[in-house]
Amino acid sequence: MSTDELELLLASSLHEDDSQSVDVHNARAVLRDRLERGQRAGRRRALIGIAAAVLAVVVTASLLLTGLRHEEATPVRPSPPRVAVSPSGLPVGLLKGTYEQDGLAGAILLLVRADGSGQLSSGVKGWQPCTEFGGAFGVEIRRAGPGRVSIAYDNPVLEDREVVTMSFIVRDRSVTIVSLGTPGNGLLAKASADAITGTVLHVTQAPELCSL
């Protein structure tokens, strides 16, 4: 069988049943019914959508109102006072901490003022910050980098101002001394500096220290 003959046979075979009638009348009715059902379903979907949207608005509004009422009813707790920071990076206030040196309990007090000035005092057993031998020195605290300050003995009479450097980390209302560097001849002894390293100073709003 040639290709032309096969194509002719194929076309005539496929068209053989064309004489059989197709019920267009019934099909038209079925189509009309399906379209109407589709329209009804569409309207139903639209109504459901609108109802869902309204419900969502109502629920959101009621939640918001409930939240507002709850907010009004809840007493406002005062937030803790914020700690001011001096230009050096240290918190303003009296920084107090304790340490141990040669088996003896010691204390360090560093007063930091907002203008960069301050007072430093430290000592071990029997030491009192406001006695003749344990008074606080006036110091100038300057920023020496991030988390680092230089503390100089603020006494113009002395030639050597004995600068102490201190690295620290501030957390909330405390300052941890990471390292202390000192020439070790007056303001702060080397042994004391080693003992004080690692001490945590707590920031308090104490009055000025008494000085010599």
């Binding site: 194509e7 046979l9 068209h15 049943d17």
Partner: protein
Amino acid sequence: MVAVFEAHYTHLVRLARHLVDDQADAEDVVMDAFVGLSRRWQHVRRTEDVFFYLRTSVVNGSRSRLRRLKVARERRHTQLDRDAAPADQAAMAHLEHEAVVRALRVLPRRQREVLVLRYYDGASEAEIAEVLRISVGSVKTHASRGLHAVAELLEGST
């Protein structure tokens, strides 16, 4: 919409019947195509696009219907083959046509679609390519292979 239905429904049902083998399935597929068209009716800009849309819908709908009813269809084919087997029917004039239609049913889907669109619908290779979303070259390949397969099946059945 009514005019389009009157103009194309019968032809599309017959086209679908060659793709799904069953009259009821064919009518369902065509009905789905018209329902789909009614949803997009507002977007129809050119009347010549309507038939292309319907023909494509019918081919795609037939394909998915065949996929769904594959198992049932295979059982029915076996029954049809058995019914057509008696030797006394071989002499009947239309047996050859039935053999051709049966041969079409066992062809791979693409080959069957190309042959039905080409020899029943009278679609050009370009139109078939557009409906089936394949290249004209692929249409030619499927047509050639389909014809060859039908010829072999007819030879085998005689």
